[in-house]
């Protein structure tokens, strides 16, 4: 017998969904271990591109950054030809996760257990005692170094941003993103030299998809986040556009901030504070950058593991690292551009106070995700109600909709066959 979301002995999983749509998401989608294992296999280790980092994080040959895709540890490393490789952090010999530093620079990658030694492309260069000692032991004559390299992922680098995939049959990155999402990506990453500002990391006790939902949900920012609604950064009455790729898996939310905010959006939005004044107006010292065009914010979600943030002058990538069905690590990488002057650098860093684990408009996103997860855990028979603006899926010219979340779950149901 299988229950909702539970796996049978034959690896089957009974679908926890009721009906065919994607607007009523059942609790086990967020809590069930077997469903989560299938997500890792089909989504994170299947034919989907995952963000791994920025090229500037590995500026020279031998520079590496350790990160993960799903729960598999990987190393992004630059080789002597200047190319970026992404290698699985697992020795071909005894599975050691040999790389423990987050970043560094190496001549070769050496697993300390038995000193198997790999080059920057993951090729095995040599192993100790290959021919034995004093004619005894060692590898058999058919041992070939080229059969024992590190697992090498397929890599795509676009304008300084590095993606990787375990499945070498994955489609081209441009096709994967589709034209509309690609345009949002290229708006920020147009080939300009990037500058790394640093990292914020948080562990959020909720299912990883809740973060994707959060950034596909334009309904909440003008309600949960006082700063957004009071200072006009994100309001239901701002000019805005939502778009998604043809599968519904990726999305972007673009909006234009109000310079003058005098009134509440509508009666009863309690997060609006008419008389709220900053003691230090510099916190919102926003300077329009020419590449923005009309939009002052563009939040792009690329399935399954990254959010690209442009929120006024603050820029970041936000990477999702799932850690079981009920928690994930969220890694923010803030950056600027090489041609930023001192004032702009300072401005980006100051506006970073809005974001990250302590951010004025994002500390509470982590909190609400935690409490949603608690609600799913306490009632497996529950389904969310995600029908703001109906049950359809498509681009809109307003924010009062949950269409992007429905788009992601339509795709999720196809891939997961649930």
């Amino acid at each position: 017998m299988t229950t909702n979301g539970q796996s049978g002995l034959d690896g089957t999983i009974a679908s926890p969904w009721h009906g065919s749509g994607s607007s009523r998401i059942p609790s086990p989608v967020y809590t069930d271990e077997a469903i989560y294992r299938r997500e890792l296999e089909r989504i994170f280790y299947g034919p989907h591109w995952s963000y791994v980092g920025l090229e500037i994080e590995v500026p020279e040959a031998g520079c590496f950054k350790r990160t993960a895709i799903g729960e598999r540890s990987v190393i992004m490393i630059r080789n002597r030809k200047g190319e970026i490789n992404v290698l699985e952090n697992r020795c071909a010999h005894r599975a050691m996760r040999f790389c423990q530093e987050r970043t560094g620079k190496v001549m070769t990658l050496v697993c300390p257990y038995h000193q198997w030694n790999y080059n920057h492309d993951g090729k095995l260069l040599g192993v100790p005692f290959r021919n034995g000692v004093k004619g005894k032991g060692g590898m058999l004559p058919d041992f070939q170094l080229e059969d024992h390299g590190l697992n090498t992922l397929k890599v795509a680098v676009r304008n300084g941003v590095v993606f990787a995939c375990f499945d070498h049959a994955v489609e081209d990155l441009g096709e994967y993103l589709g034209p509309d999402i690609l345009a949002c990506f290229d708006r920020t990453f147009d080939g300009r030299q990037l500058v790394l500002h640093g990292y914020s990391r948080q562990r959020i006790p909720g299912n990883w998809k809740l973060m994707m939902e959060n950034i596909k949900d334009p309904y909440h920012p003008g309600l949960l986040h006082t700063w957004f609604v009071t200072f006009g950064l994100w309001r239901a009455d701002n000019d805005s556009r939502l778009t998604l790729d043809r599968h519904g898996r990726h999305a972007a939310m673009m909006s234009r901030r109000r310079e003058e905010v005098k009134q509440n959006v509508e009666e009863g939005v309690t997060s609006f504070r008419k008389n709220m004044q900053l003691h230090e107006p510099l916190l919102l010292d926003i300077v329009h950058e020419s590449w923005w065009g009309n939009d002052t914010v563009c939040m792009t979600t690329v399935f399954p593991n990254v959010v690209f943030q442009q929120q006024v002058n603050s820029l970041s990538t936000r990477q999702i690292l799932p850690q079981g069905p009920d928690k994930f690590d969220f890694v923010w990488t803030h950056f600027g551009f090489a041609d930023d002057d001192e004032e702009m650098i300072e401005r980006r860093l100051r506006q970073a106070n809005l974001f990250g684990p302590a951010g004025f408009v994002s500390a509470d996103d982590g909190e609400v995700i935690e409490f949603s997860q608690q609600g799913f855990e306490q009632d497996q028979a529950f389904s969310t109600w995600c029908e703001l603006d109906g049950t359809g899926i498509g681009p809109t010219d307003h924010m009062v909709t949950e269409t992007l979340i429905r788009g992601m779950y339509r795709y999720w149901r196809e891939v997961m066959e649930l």
Binding site: L224, P357, D364
Partner: protein, 158 residues
């Protein structure tokens, strides 16, 4: 150089008062520990060690600190929690020009309602204290924390 014993006692008192202010949740009083143009910064050790400028929080001036407290008390939705600061013996470097540099380890626990106490932040204060009119204030306070994966969110000052 041997630190003047009177100054040492006053610095101990300053840290004890600072911890009590935060642990008693008297957040409105917190900016008063700083000079007008002080820099309060909470930064993961990873960024600090690598000279990466991003902070978890970077508040320059008392005005920005007041805005933070308004956010903490009025705009950021979060589960309530208690903090408890244990601050180690300060390492004091007395300077002639009226600035005293102090390093002190800290250990902060977080206790949410209906939960056990947990280790929340472990790090080191890198501070500069000014003495004016016989009054000690922080001109700079960097909180450099080791456990750089924050347990979801960071609301109250450290």
């Amino acid at each position: 150089m041997i630190v003047d014993p009177d100054l040492r006692y006053r610095i101990h008192d300053l840290y004890a008062a600072y911890a009590a202010c935060l642990d008693d949740a008297r957040y409105g009083e917190w900016p008063e520990f700083f000079t007008e143009d002080a820099w309060y910064r909470v930064v993961p050790r990873e960024n600090y060690d690598r000279d990466l400028p991003l902070s978890t929080l970077s508040l320059k001036g008392k005005a920005m600190m007041k805005d933070r407290i308004y956010g903490v008390e009025s705009t950021i939705f979060h589960a309530p929690y208690y903090q408890r600061h244990l601050i180690g013996l300060p390492l004091i470097d007395q300077h002639k020009d009226g600035i005293v540099k102090v390093e002190a380890n800290y250990f902060v626990t977080r206790t949410k309602r209906d939960s056990l106490a947990e280790i929340y932040s472990v790090g080191k204060y890198l501070d500069e204290i000014t003495i004016r009119d016989n009054d000690l204030k922080f001109a700079r306070k960097f909180c450099v924390f080791d456990n750089d994966i924050v347990a979801n969110s960071m609301i109250y000052p450290i």
